[in-house]
Each structure stands twice: as structure tokens, then as C-alpha cells.
Amino acid sequence: MSEQRMGDQSFMKGVFHGDLAEDLIFPFPQVAKEEGENLSMILDSVSRFLDEKVDSAAIDREHSIPESVIEEAKALGLFGLQIPMDHGGIGLSTTAYSRIMQQVGGHDASLAVTLGAHQSIGLKALLLFGTDEQKERFFPTLATGEKVAAFALTEPSAGSDAAGIKTHAKLSEDGTYWVLNGSKIWITNGAIADVFTVFARTSDFEEGTKPRLTAFIVERGEGLTTGSNEAKLGIRGSSTTEVFFDDVRVPAENVIGEVGRGFKVAMGVLNSGRLGLAAGCVGVNKTLIKMALDRVGERRAFGKYLGEFGLIKDKIAGMLARTYALESMTYLTTGLLDAGVPDYSLESAICKVYGSETAWWVVNETLQIAAGTGYMEEYPYERILRDSRINLIFEGTNEILRCFIALSGLAGPGRELSEVSRAMREPIKGFGLLVDYAVKFARNRIAPGRLTRAHPVLSRETVLIEEYTAHLAGHVGNLLRKHGRDIALMQFAQRRVADVAIDLFALSACVSRTTATIESRGEEAAREEIDYTRIFAVEARRRLECNVVGFEANDDEVRKGAAVRSYELGSYPFDIMG
């Protein structure tokens, strides 16, 4: 754990200021020797379990994971991966946990989602915010899987917008318990869970005002019922149900965190949970790449193997490079988290968005390579495609997360600017601040953030990061000066900001990791890593250029107009029939 990493700065938040806090991302985190040794034994056991016991085609067909498989997963210890050892768990780091979720995700999405709902999010509130007493009470049975956990936030009126939550909790007169009423939908593990992390309002409902939310641990029991499993597109073996609360009594000591601070709990849980999802996407990509490579080396057309055609090579190269970027950013972030960096919310949101979209692209291209075979139920391609779709939706939709990335990145410079504008109104008192800001601004302009620890072989990629970090900071400043708080409503601009941030983080992660490989094994042995980084950088440059140009020159208003006019009409306006 390096000293510099302990600051409270997030690498990506720094990027929005034009800073490249390279000590946060160099050297690329390594798994410590002892944990690495344990982890390889664990992966060995997990892979054998998956290969021998988990039949994904059957799980998809039957819409359920066989009881015996769940039992064996529990006996293996897969339900207590991050629960500390003295509470009966395996006590793994986030990196090790994610690597295991990668393995499971690469084999069966239903099982990965079941395990993830239990421990990436279901019991995570207890892990992050629980008291010792609560941990003592719940962890031993959650660690063995004797009890299963679920995370219950979503409601019919509250999907992306948690402020719409209607489930409410009222404190008893004597203050010893809460009474919970309301319902949740689409709760993963609904049918099998015994312990629910439930978010309920502890203030009265008022349209348009932010409620005070509180997080509770609620055990299945009187007044808590669950609906039947929903039929769905993919991850069919995982259970998704409604959950109903009818005068459920929850002891006062089951509040997680502080009363009224449930939103913070939910965000904390999701920030870390998203990394498990991203790691699962790494696993899916690796499985798909293997399938694609098998296919292109077997199938022949026009007297050649598919792999000999340029368009196929182009797809494969993209799959390799993007998966490398995803793997690098995911394990860079888990490494930051394990090193104790407190704020990784932007980084983990980026991993979730990039991971889910990369996996979706890779599955689509792999199915395309398999073509007709890919479309047939007899083969796994279509199932993996269906299974991968959920990742763009849950744990925060990718739209919401793009807005989140942009706005929480902008919040830093925004705060600074509002202080600056206040200072301008009170010139004398605020003189110091103005000078500070001017100095900082000047420094960014004259000496933008640098990545001095990147290997010189990667100088082109490094310059790209430095250049676009300066562009991002510059445009962020312009947007804030021009629009102030209204930026919160400007989603076209937010999308550009977020996409620039995503590419910058992906590139930085690749450069950090490839640098580590070059430094430890030499340039020759790092050939593949260098090439993947270059391929990714060329793809990223195209997007970065396009997004940065778009800040100034775009057709945003035309697009908005077309959309809004169509809302009135309610349909596509034309027909060639005149």
C-alpha cells in the first residue's frame, strides 16, 4: 500500500481538473504473493466446480439453477467470499473477489448474478456500513449461504430515480421497531433470499421533493412475501421477484448506517458492486474470444479459414484490445479500492458502463462470426447474448451512469468555480482565492498533467492521454462558465464528457499495466500488451476527437427538436405511399 495512494483524491476526479495524479495509477497493482497463491488454488477449485457441475444450457432451459448446484456452491464457500474470516467468510480482497466473479461470469451468468446479488450488493451494505453487532448477527449464516441476501431498491415508481420510492417505514411509539409497508420489483434472489437490504422512505411522500431514505436489514418473516419468478430475456436461472411488505416489524437495531442516510448507503453499495459486474464482463469476453477463435480456425468459406479474412481479423483484434482495456481498468480500480483509496465511484461507474457495453459488442460480434450457427438455440451464442443484455440495465442504467460520471466529475471544478465567482463579487476578501484559481488555471494551461511514469515505448498513447485530459478540463471549465448549474440538465454535453472520461480512464489503465509488464519482463515479452494498447488507443483517439469537436460544433438542438416534435405526433411521420 503506497503512501501516495492514501490521499482522498480520485484519479478520474483529478482528470476533470486537468490533473493526472499518476501516483494513484502507477505502478499497476499486483496481487500480493500470498493472496495470489491462495487465489490460484481457489480458481482451480472454482473452475473444476463450474466445469463439472454447472450446465448453463440446462439452467437456461429449466429457468433455474439446480438446488444441488447451489448447495455445492455454498459448501465450496462461494457465498462468503468477502466476509471476514472471523465472521466465517473467506475474507478476500476486492481484487480476488472480482477475479472469482470473472471466472463464474465467464461460465454462467445466472450463477454469477445470483452470487453477485447476494454479496456484491445484497450483503454489501452490512459489510460497508454495518455495526459489529450487526455483522456478528448476520455474517456467519450469510457466509455459508445458509441464508441468502438480496438488495431491494427498485419499485414500480422508482427505477433509476430512487426519489420515487414509496415503501415507507414508521418508527414505533416506543422507538424500538419500525413498521415497513410497500413493495419492490425485480429483486434478484427474491425467491431464495432470507435477508433483504431494503431502502424505505422515513419521511412523508411529497411529489418532487427528495425523500429521506433509510436502509434496513429485513429478515423474511411475518408480513414479508415474495412474488413468483419473472419470465425474462436472459439470466433465466436467477430468481427475479416482487417483494411485498405488509406491516413488517423491523427492530430499530436493523437500521444500516444512519436514519435518513439510506441514499448514501445505496450509492456505496452500488459503487463497489459495479466492479463485480465489470469483472463478470471480463470473464464473458474471455469465453467469447475463445469461442470466436475456435470458430475462425475451423470454419471454412471460399476455400479459406474464416480467420484468414481481413474483416474477421479486424473483429478479433478489436475484441482482444477492448477486453485488455476492460480487464486493465477493472483490476486497476479493484487495486485502488484494496489499497484503501476511499473514492472510486467514478472509476467503478466507468468500469460498469465500459464492461457492459464491451461485452455486448463482443457477444454480438462473436455471434456474427458464427452467423447462422450463432443464431441457433442449439449453440451457446444466443444464450450468452441474451444473458449479457442485463448488464447495461441493472446496477444503474448506462444512461444514468454516464450522467453520473459527467456530473460528479464536473462537481469538483464546479465547486471551485462557484467559489471563484463568489470571490469576484467580493474582490478584496476573495483575492487569495482568485489568485489560487488563476495560478491553477495557468498551470493547467502551461503545464497540463503529465504521465511521467509511463514507459517511453508508449509515448504516443501517453501524449494522447495528456492532450485529451487538457481538452476535457478546458471544456469542463467552458461549460461551467457558460452554463453554470444548468449543466445538470444538459445531457448531450454530459454524454460527451462521460465518453471522454471513459476513454481516458481506459487508456490510462492500459498504459499503466503495459508499463508494468515492460518494466518487469522487457519490451520484447510485452509485445502483445503494447499492441493491444496501441489498437485501443487508435480506436479511442477517433472517439475522443469526435467528442471534443462536438462540444463546440454539433447538431444537438436539431436532434432535440426532431425528438420533441415526434413526441407530439406519437409516431414516425412519413410513408412512401404519400
Binding site: M41, S45, R48, E52, L76, G77, L78, L81
Partner: protein, 275 residues
């Protein structure tokens, strides 16, 4: 019952193509190879675990299983994996592969047997790297113990074992008294190939070797792992077998496609000259 299991790590047989031999053929370059436990030795460990338990209660060890390997410090991960699977303690005899031959390992094991006094010494029928198939036999000779090689089934008795050996045309069953040396073959990890006196005959094991539960992996670190030097065990550490030269198998030639059966027969007859 006390069982000593000899365990060797070998270069991952699935990645055998990564084995490099320098031009002068003097040695095998092991740099960058991935290592795995020798599969037959893993079967021996599984056998030892089955012999020291009631199959329905695999977490309770009735007796003691000690694993031993001869190798450099990084072979300890192989021993830890064995501890995670259920062995009680481990011994590493410090040595590099090129300082060892079958007889030397057998002599080292003989001294360990004198110290540990196991009822049975179990090991794979051979290691899949050198394929020498010597250590078990040499050890039995040095100890003057009964021996059963290529065991496919084992049944524990009061004072010994009934060992089934697959031979051409049938199964040879032999009864041996403790203490004894047994080397095992592939089929020893079938569902009903090993029974301790505690395990009911109707019980069926999972095919293959068991995988370690995660808590056991984490706890394996707390199990004892002793290190000894080869010189502690054997007076004369000189090699009796010297490898003169290593040579990689010739690279496989690309295949050819034949149009029909007639062409195939023609090629087999006239080019391959096998018909």
C-alpha cells in the same frame, strides 16, 4: 492409520509445447513453465484421503496424511494445495530437479519413512514428466516392504490392504500386509474404487479428485510445512543416473487433405508405407 504421500510437481502437461531445450541438448529449460501436481500423485493423495475417512464425512480425518515433495522453494505451493485438499501436514525436501534421480528420491523417502513410521506410502505409478516409474519400486526394495504397483482399487482390511491391479485380460487382486508401498493408476479415483473400513460399500465418491473448499484453502496456511535438506536424509547425494542429452520431438508436419478413400489408401500404401 498414517499415510505418507509422495507428490511431485510437473510442467503442465497441457502446455508441453512450451518446454524448451537449448541447442546443445544439455538440459531442459524450465523457465516460464507452468507447474501442476503430477496427476497420478494427485490420485495418490485422493486415495490417501479416502482411506482415512468415512466417505460421507470427508471433513473428518481419521488418521494422518503427510505429503512430501522434493523440490525448490516454489514447490511449496503444490504442497499447500495438497494441504488445502485435506492432507494434515507437509514436508519439502529442498532440492532442484537436476540434483535428483529416482533412486535418490527413494533413499530420501526411506529416511523419512524411518522418521514418520507410516503404515502406507502412496504415490503415483509414475510422474508424467520423466515417466521413469522407479521410485515406488525402489523404495519398497530399500525398505524391504511389500509393494503393490498400478493399483486400480484398494480396500482397507484390519491388517492390510486388498489391492486390485488391472492387467491384460482381467483384474489381479492381491492382499498385502502393513506397512506397504502402493503406487496408483488412473482408475483409483473412480467412484467406487477405494473403501476404508469406515466407508459403507454402497457409498459412491465423485469421479476424480476432490476440489478444496475455499475455507480449507485459506486455512491450509496454518497447517505445518517443514523443510529438510536432501543431505539430512541421504549420505551420498551423487546421481546414479545421468541424462546425456535431451531432444525435442520433431515438429509435426502439416496434414494433407485427401479427396476420397481411394487416395487415402494410395497414400497410406505408397507414401506412409503402412499398408
Amino acid at each position: 492409520m498414517k499415510i505418507l504421500v509422495a507428490l511431485k510437481r510437473v510442467a503442465d502437461p497441457d502446455n508441453a509445447n512450451k518446454v524448451k531445450i537449448p541447442a546443445d541438448g544439455s538440459t531442459i529449460d524450465t523457465a516460464g513453465l507452468e507447474f501442476k501436481p503430477n496427476p497420478f500423485d494427485e490420485y495418490a493423495l485422493e486415495t490417501a484421503l479416502r482411506l482415512t475417512e468415512d466417505g460421507t464425512k470427508p471433513k473428518v480425518r481419521d488418521g494422518e496424511v503427510i505429503v512430501v515433495t522434493f523440490g525448490p522453494a516454489d514447490t511449496e505451493s503444490t504442497l499447500r494445495a495438497a494441504l488445502a485438499t485435506g492432507a494434515d501436514r507437509a514436508i519439502r525436501v529442498d532440492a532442484n530437479d537436476d540434483q535428483l534421480d529416482g533412486l535418490l528420491v527413494a533413499k530420501g523417502l526411506k529416511t523419512l519413512v524411518a522418521e514418520e513410521k507410516p503404515d502406507i506410502v502412496l504415490m503415483g505409478k509414475q510422474a508424467v514428466d520423466g515417466d521413469t516409474n522407479q521410485v515406488g519400486q525402489a523404495l519398497a526394495e530399500l525398505l524391504d516392504w511389500p509393494m503393490a504397483t498400478f493399483a486400480a482399487t484398494i480396500e482397507e482390511q484390519e491388517d492390510g490392504l486388498v489391492v486390485g491391479r488391472e492387467v491384460d485380460g482381467g483384474v489381479l487382486e492381491l492382499s498385502i500386509k502393513y506397512p506397504a508401498v502402493v503406487t496408483v493408476d488412473l482408475r483409483i479415483v473412480s467412484p467406487s474404487s477405494v473403501y476404508s473400513t469406515k466407508t459403507d460399500r454402497s457409498f459412491k465418491y465423485n469421479e476424480g479428485v476432490r476440489f478444496s473448499p475455499l475455507p480449507a484453502i485459506m486455512q491450509a496456511r496454518r497447517k505445518p510445512l517443514d523443510t529438510k535438506s536432501l543431505a539430512d536424509l541421504v549420505d551420498d547425494t551423487g546421481l546414479k543416473i545421468n541424462y546425456l542429452r535431451f531432444e525435442a520431438p520433431p515438429a509435426r508436419l502439416a496434414g494433407v487433405k485427401v479427396a476420397d478413400a481411394a487416395e487415402l489408401v494410395d497414400k497410406l500404401k505408397n507414401e506412409a508405407k503402412v499398408l
